[in-house]
């Protein structure tokens, strides 16, 4: 049992590492691959839950999530990059050392006294919960710090993965029906956001959101 909880915590560390590398990565395709790896890790958590509860419906939803987030979404993103020949479109407002400093501060902040009482939800998984909160904050920072529309989009999906992992360690997974509803919402979001990214590239000739300056007061 201890072995399993250690393994699951290790998976949470992988999720944490992927979001850190998303910040450091300069290649758009690397960010997509990191997202696929992060989604795979989240799927493993969900699979563990489905197997532990011997719940077939939950297993089916997990397979759907795997298909959507690990295969279909990254495939669409990579296709989009290839179509628009976007190799190095990743740029950020802060440079790498400053970004690392902010990441460190965010991680320390979540382990400070303020967030610690959150562990009351699931005391056995206290560290994993705090790490999930750190991933949430770092994902939000990814959305803010990146200039590329695709990176912003992946930041949101990473935020969603972080919340799913938080729910897993807090024992707050929903019924398969609700999980299906949420997954359907996310899939629709991915499709719509991908269409928008294409539209942005078509209209502005770039995915850099700083080139969008048509909304003036």
């Amino acid at each position: 049992m201890l072995h399993l909880s250690q393994t699951l915590f290790f998976i949470e560390i992988i999720i944490f590492a992927t979001v850190i590398f998303m910040h450091l990565s300069k290649k758009s395709s690397s960010v997509v691959v990191l997202y696929a790896l992060q989604s795979l890790s989240v799927t493993v958590l969900l699979l563990a839950s489905a197997l532990e509860e011997a719940n077939l419906a939950l297993l089916a939803v997990t397979i759907l999530i795997f298909a959507a987030k690990v295969i279909v979404a990254p495939y669409f993103f990579l296709k989009l990059l290839k179509k628009n020949q976007l190799k190095f479109s990743v740029s950020s407002y802060l440079n790498t050392p400053l970004t690392l400093i902010v990441l460190t501060i965010l991680t320390i902040m979540t382990h400070a006294n303020f967030f610690k009482p959150i562990a009351v939800i699931a005391p056995a998984n206290g560290s994993a919960l705090l790490m999930a909160i750190a991933i949430i904050l770092i994902s939000i920072f990814l959305i803010i710090n990146r200039r590329g529309a695709l990176s912003q989009m992946i930041g949101i999906l990473s935020l969603e993965n972080a919340i799913v992992s938080f729910a897993f360690f807090a024992g707050l997974e929903q019924t398969p029906g609700l999980e299906l509803g949420v997954t359907f919402d996310i899939i629709t979001w991915i499709v719509i956001a991908t269409v928008f990214v294409s539209m942005i590239h078509k209209q502005f000739g770039s995915l850099d959101v700083t080139s969008m300056k048509h909304l003036t007061e």
Binding site: V120, I136, I140, A170, L172, L178, A193, M199, H214
Partner: protein, 476 residues
């Protein structure tokens, strides 16, 4: 059964729209028919006055019924207005058949999502529905496919998605006291288990909810998407976004507020709502004063009014009663203003205030209606907003005299700002080339209905509606 009809009617309409190949007129007729069914069903459910349920997934209480009536009424007016508005845009070759089809499909999906959000018994289902409102409206905001519209839609999509994910996290945190609960968790279960919520978790969860759904409400400082999205969308959609959707998101905040208030008392949520309310009113007041675009002016006015409602619910008591009344009056008035601004836009082809002169000459009926809307939105008596603002401010005058005074000052600035802009638009001589007179009845009739509704509700609140408001206040 009536609840099922409310959801199925817009969904079915959207589905049928897919298969319409040629006739534009069918869109309008079917859209109108679906909206009439929705309003009829909403009136039927509300006339019962009691909590109405359909399966364990859907249930509607007094506040939900009020909102359902708002969505159905404004939805009908928008469907009606859209027919003539889109025909005119088609005549001007701004849009074609494909766009009209896309518009009606998304409009009814949007309405369906709002109805589901209101009548869902489960907080996660409500979240899914509110997220669906974002997804269904994103393409409506980018409808004209211009760079500014795409930019506004992207901003809307990204900011609201982050907000709603935070709201999702907050929602999950609310669910931990009911872990292991057999069956679907509904609002009653959450209220019943509120005492088991850890005070720290309750506070953190509500902060996530307020920031998350507050983004959708347009509370400052999470409001940045709102003026852009509301000013770039087609006018009928702007009227739904401003007049209805913001209330639906506010409804989500109120549902969680009720749970937190039971867990730790109303002080914490009240303080937060007052804080976000006052900064929203203050910022919007100054921006309204210096605004140069009339659609953005109306959008910032929505931020101000959401701030007022937040203030009212934060004050509680008479303030909360006023805030609920305000929800009704603001929805009607803001829809009226946006729809009449649509007539102005079609005539002047500009949303810049400086380009619009002599509306009373060019569009006499629309000009008068726009002026009525201005008087109502700025809280001039005898319009209902005067009454609701009076209740809101009287709710806080004893406990928060300074903030109440500040809000009053901001309202005065809003009045002066609006007066300045509206007089410059309505009076004077229209520029050469602007057609004088001749207004389409299809774009005036829905406005007249809203004016009549506003006039009636300003003087008299029907008994059943009053009892719904009183029931809602006892919970929220």
């Amino acid at each position: 059964m009536a609840l099922l009809l409310i959801i199925l009617s817009p969904l079915l309409a959207s589905f049928i729209f897919f298969f319409i190949r040629k006739s534009v007129g069918v869109f309008g007729l079917l859209s109108l028919a679906a909206s009439l069914v929705e309003l009829g069903s909403a009136l039927y459910v509300a006339s019962g006055g009691k909590v109405s349920s359909f399966t364990s997934y859907f249930s509607v209480d007094a506040l939900g019924m009020i909102l359902m009536l708002i969505v159905a009424t404004i939805g009908l007016m928008v469907s009606w207005y859209s027919i003539s508005y889109l025909n005119e845009e088609k005549r001007k070759e701004i849009i074609g058949f494909r766009r009209i089809k896309q518009y009606f499909i998304l409009l009814h999906l949007f309405l369906a999502a709002m109805f589901i959000a209101i009548i869902s018994a489960n907080p996660i289902v409500m979240w899914i529905a509110i997220e669906a409102t974002t997804l269904s409206t994103a393409f409506l905001i980018s409808f004209y496919n211009k760079p500014s519209a795409i930019e506004a839609a992207w901003k809307y999509l990204i900011i609201n998605s982050v907000g709603l994910l935070l709201a999702f996290l907050g929602t999950l945190l609310f669910l931990y006291p009911v872990l292991g609960h057999a069956g679907l968790v509904n609002w009653q279960t959450l209220l019943g288990n509120a005492a088991s919520l850890d005070p720290f978790v309750a506070k953190i969860a509500f902060i996530f909810i307020l920031i998350g759904y507050g983004t959708k409400v347009g509370l400052v400082p999470m409001h940045t998407w709102l003026p852009d999205a509301h000013s770039k969308a087609p006018v009928p959609i702007s009227s739904l976004l401003s007049g209805v959707l913001l209330n639906v998101a506010f409804f989500a905040v109120l549902r969680f507020k009720a749970v937190v208030d039971l867990a730790i008392g109303p002080y914490f949520t009240g303080r937060l709502l007052i804080f976000f309310g006052i900064i929203s009113i203050a910022l919007a007041a100054f921006i309204i004063f210096g605004q140069r675009n009339y659609k953005r002016l109306l959008a910032y006015s929505s931020i101000e009014h959401m701030g007022l409602m937040s203030l009212g619910f934060g004050f509680g008591g008479a303030g909360a009663f006023g805030a609920l009344l305000h929800m009704i009056y603001h929805s009607l008035t803001k829809s009226l203003l946006f729809l009449s601004s649509g007539n102005i836009f079609l005539r002047y082809s500009s949303t810049k205030i400086e380009k619009v002169r002599g509306v009373l000459t060019a569009l006499p009926a629309t000009g008068i209606i726009f002026f009525i809307g201005f008087l109502s939105i700025t809280g001039v008596p005898p319009f209902g907003i005067f009454l609701s603002e009076f209740y809101i401010l009287s709710g806080g005058i004893m406990s928060h005299p300074f903030l109440t005074g500040l809000a009053l000052l901001a309202l005065a600035i809003v009045f002066i700002g609006f007066l300045k802009h509206v007089t410059s638009m309505l009076f004077g001589k229209p520029e050469e080339g602007i057609e004088i007179g001749k207004e389409a009845s299809g774009r005036l009739a829905p406005l007249l209905v809203i004016v009549i509704l506003l006039a009636i509700l300003g003087f008299y609140i029907p008994g059943p509606l009053k009892s719904l408001i009183n029931s809602a206040i006892s919970i929220y």
